[in-house]
């Protein structure tokens, strides 16, 4: 199937309005005849579910947590971008579009990025009206801070808990709709398959994680807001239960998966402290506003950070990138940290960290100001490491964070399966090969609240005569049987290798060869290792308990089974792209001083992969056109 992104006609700045002018909408009286399933209760899924319910559709929302308020959007710290230009610093929609396309290393879809920047303005209004306590100036007006990869202040924040506050606003809007009765929520339910009838997405098979019952649910359209799959690395900034299973099962039912290998490795997470570790806690990028990153100039310098004088410190980001300094984009900052650590300048007992130092800022602004800006982050740091970061520098390290790749969607956020939509991190469209900080909350929220409710109506306007979708059909029978068979197969393994151990090993393979720095030999090795590990999983995984009732081992095993397949596609995708761009750094394609070399002639496309029933994947290219921005070499020097 040829890819059609369905980008509306007209100048860039008019495309979204042109789309809205011409799209079909559904009569309010007909909306209550239409069922929509939303998977995921976070900013994208929850936002979509609440907004669709407000419009009058019958909405069912599914999530595996015990409450939608726990979705992983909650963990985003630093902020949300919007082109409000409240600072009078020259910001506008075009500049935000420009920064985002450049930050993504010219591998995103122009029209989508521009629309995201346009909608950002409304989003701040929306969230403020919902009661989000954004940071304020003493005048009472909204305050801003700066994030990486930009030269203006366009980031709105609620201390270091911006994601939590936006999510709670969205959760409260959801709860309101539950009360009104337009929305039914299914907490502790996990989607295990998508049901496709006559080529259209018509429902899902879910497992009730309390009773263990497998259930069928039908709808006229299905929306996936299921987040990213960075947990594939085991050690990541993601929540323990975040997973790629919903998007992967949709992929196996025909949805193309785009740019799967583009994973953002976040430069400021806490370093791994030992083998037992389950998670790498993120320290917000906003800390780079006031923190300075350095390592000792001397290799294996064992002095305490306070004892190392200024002339023996290497502020390597300020040295290499004087224009942006500590605020270079994440991919650049992570690679630069890796370069220093590989060269023997890492700090901490495992030599796997760099310093993030607030001494200069505390001297200049006082401890109280730093406390008000980042207090909760310093507290969190102390709780985990037992170190007071007001007194000595934080130790930070790169960690797997965000999936720029995801299900391929067109301008309407529709996948290659008609009636299946993907919003937020689950889709691929807006960030190119590297996401800018504070654009994640933005994309999730505008996809869910402002874009999807307008585009899905174009599809649903053809469904008003369809009537209720039956779950008593061969397609539902077949999907349910496949799900039950897999559960049975997993429980029948009865091996001795704990699921988490296998996941850790997968993570090590992926972080070594399919993360910050990649080469052909390493990835061919990784593919073989993944295949071996997959065999070992299906032969020797230790999954105890049964399917009747809660069984967290069974849940983890199902997710890992999918990760073991996603991992291979990630390597295949990274092998295919013989250039360096954004987070995708191929060692074979770099300049003498270690900067990325793109190949616009051959690789200016999004790679959308089609599942070929387990026999390799078929590549479809969406060629990218840049008419409103000059494509140049990305430089932050």
């Amino acid at each position: 199937m040829a890819l059609n992104a369905k980008i509306p006609k007209g100048p860039l700045k008019d495309k979204w309005q042109n789309y809205l002018n011409n799209t079909n909408i559904v009569n309010p009286a007909n909306r209550k005849k239409i069922d929509v399933i939303v998977v995921g209760g976070g900013l994208s899924g929850g936002g979509a579910a609440a907004s669709l319910a407000e419009l009058g559709y019958n909405v069912k929302v599914f999530f595996f947590q015990d409450s939608a308020r726990r979705s992983h959007s909650v963990a985003a710290q630093g902020g949300v971008n919007a082109a409000k230009n409240y600072k009078n610093d020259g910001d506008n929609i075009y500049r935000m579009f420009y920064d985002t396309v450049k930050g993504g290393d010219y591998r995103s879809r122009e029209a989508n990025v521009y629309r995201m920047a346009q909608c950002s303005v409304d989003l701040i209004d929306h969230m403020t009206a919902q009661g989000v306590p954004f940071g304020r100036e003493y005048s009472g007006y909204l305050s801003n801070r700066s994030f990486g990869g930009v030269l203006v202040s366009r980031t709105f924040y609620a201390r270091g808990q911006t994601g939590q506050q936006l999510l709670l606003a969205t959760y409260q809007a959801l709860m309101k709709q539950v009360k009104v009765g337009t929305l039914t929520q299914y907490s502790r339910h996990e989607i295990l398959d998508l049901v496709v009838v006559d080529g259209k997405a018509r429902g899902v098979i879910v497992r009730d994680l309390v009773t263990g019952k497998i259930e069928r649910h039908s709808a006229h359209a299905v929306v996936l807001g299921t987040g990213g799959f960075g947990k594939i690395f085991y050690l990541s900034t993601l929540a323990m239960n975040s997973n790629g299973s919903a998007t992967w099962r949709a992929h196996k039912k025909g949805a193309y998966f785009a740019n799967p290998s583009w994973t953002q490795i976040h430069p400021t997470a806490l370093p791994q402290a030992g083998e037992h570790q389950s998670k790498l806690t993120l320290m917000s990028e906003s800390l780079r506003n006031d923190g300075r990153i350095w390592v000792p100039k001397k290799k294996d310098d064992d002095r305490k950070p306070g004892d190392i004088p200024a002339e023996d410190r290497d502020y390597y980001l300020e040295r290499r990138y004087p224009a942006f300094g500590n605020l270079v984009p994440r991919d650049v900052a992570s690679r630069a940290a890796k370069e220093r650590m590989d060269a023997g300048h890492g700090v901490g007992s495992l030599k796997n960290a760099v310093y993030l130092d607030f001494k200069t800022a505390i001297e200049r602004l006082g401890e109280d100001t730093i406390k008000e800006r980042y207090g909760n982050l310093f507290t969190m740091y102390q709780k985990i490491t037992n170190i007071n970061a007001y007194k000595e520098p934080m130790k930070i390290s790169p960690a797997a964070h965000f999936s720029m790749g995801g299900l391929w969607v067109d301008y309407e956020l529709q996948t290659t399966i008609p009636g299946l939509f993907a919003v937020g991190e689950a889709n691929f469209a807006d960030h190119g090969a590297n996401r800018l900080g504070a654009n994640s909350l933005l994309q999730a929220s505008v996809d869910g609240n402002f874009i999807l409710p307008n585009t899905i109506s174009n599809y649903l306007s053809n469904e008003i005569r369809t009537g209720k979708i039956s779950t008593d059909t061969p397609e539902f029978d077949e999907a349910e049987k496949a799900v039950k068979d897999q559960v049975e197969k997993l429980l029948a393994i009865k091996g001795t290798m704990p699921v988490d151990q296998i996941h850790r090993r997968l993570g090590r393979i992926m972080f070594k060869e399919v993360a910050m720095s990649r080469n052909e030999k390493g990835m061919l090795w990784a593919i073989e290792e993944i295949k071996k590990l997959r065999k070992e999983f299906w032969g020797n995984a230790a999954i105890s308990g049964d399917e009747h009732g809660p069984n967290s081992e069974l849940e983890k095993a199902g997710r890992l089974a999918d990760y073991l397949e996603i991992a291979e596609l990630m390597a295949v995708d990274a092998l295919n792209r013989k250039e360096s761009c954004g987070a995708h750094f191929r060692e074979e394609y770099q300049t003498k001083d270690g900067e990325a070399v793109r190949d616009d002639e051959n690789y200016m496309y999004s790679a959308a992969w089609e599942w070929m029933q387990g026999k390799d994947w078929k590549l479809h290219k969406e060629e990218l056109e840049f008419k409103d921005i000059e494509v140049k070499t990305r430089s932050y020097k």
Partner: protein, 249 residues
């Protein structure tokens, strides 16, 4: 280090539960409390035994999904920590730890250490929101809010909804949890229109869900991971009385 764990095992809400003893050795003080439970579960799974079910997700203290009462204290001994942020350095080598679920009438046990906290969702459903639908909002800077008021609203809004306050309260009251939302929205100009009805609806829902009454012992605020101010409960009482007057008129 070595630890002896006595963990609450219970098949479902109706089954009878009991404490089961497990010995763990070779633990590191750098381990988080939940990583220690991961170690135990890996051992159980590789022996083919059913693992200990417990709730957890973000493991950085913000999602509110982790729970547990450790040696009688919700979220463990540190105070103002979540269980996931508690590390083994808080315990002594050779110590015995009793690990139980959050206990309250309104939190039925699902299995082992997992409990059902949807009763807290029901309180929010009753009125813990501002009914501004997508598309309705005015320009954000048209509502100036004093810096200190926004900060104060944040202090209340920071609640992660974990339920430790309820598990700690001798009456199983959800007063701190509920008052945090009431205070957050009552402090802000955006929350004024629904202010009176909100508090009455929420307090009624709280009572309907079987949560107990608040007797102002303040135990809740001692364990709250986000240090939600105890004063919010006083504010809630003020709001409640104020609203009865407002609604009457």
């Amino acid at each position: 280090m070595k630890l002896t764990l006595k963990i609450w095992r219970q098949d479902n809400a109706k089954a009878k539960g009991k404490l089961v003893k497990y010995e763990l050795s070779d633990l590191s003080t750098d381990m988080s409390f939940l990583e220690m439970l991961d170690v135990l579960n890996e051992q159980l799974a590789s022996k083919g035994e059913r693992v200990v079910e417990f709730d957890h997700d973000c493991r950085e203290g913000i999602c509110g999904q982790c729970s547990l009462v450790i040696n009688g204290q919700a979220h463990g001994p540190e105070g103002h920590y979540t269980t996931c942020q508690t590390h083994l350095r808080s315990f002594k080598d050779g110590q015995t730890l009793n690990i139980e679920p959050f206990r309250a009438n309104s939190f039925p046990v699902i299995r082992d250490l997992k409990v059902d906290r949807t009763s807290m969702d029901h309180i929010i459903q009753a009125g813990g929101y501002i009914s501004s639908f997508t598309g309705m909002a005015p320009e954000a800077n048209s509502i100036p809010i004093h810096h200190n008021i926004a900060e104060s609203a944040f202090d209340s809004a920071a609640c992660i909804g974990c339920g430790a306050c309820i598990a700690t309260c001798k009456n199983s009251s959800a007063a701190l949890f509920m008052s945090a939302k009431i205070a957050h929205l009552a402090k802000l100009p955006q929350g004024q229109v629904e202010r009176a009805e909100r508090v009455v609806w929420m307090v009624n829902a709280h009572d309907d869900e079987g949560f107990g009454s608040c007797t102002n012992t303040g135990a809740c605020a001692m364990v709250c991971p986000q240090e939600v101010p105890l004063l919010d409960i006083t504010r809630m009482n003020y709001e409640y009385n104020r609203s009865l007057k407002t609604i009457d008129s």
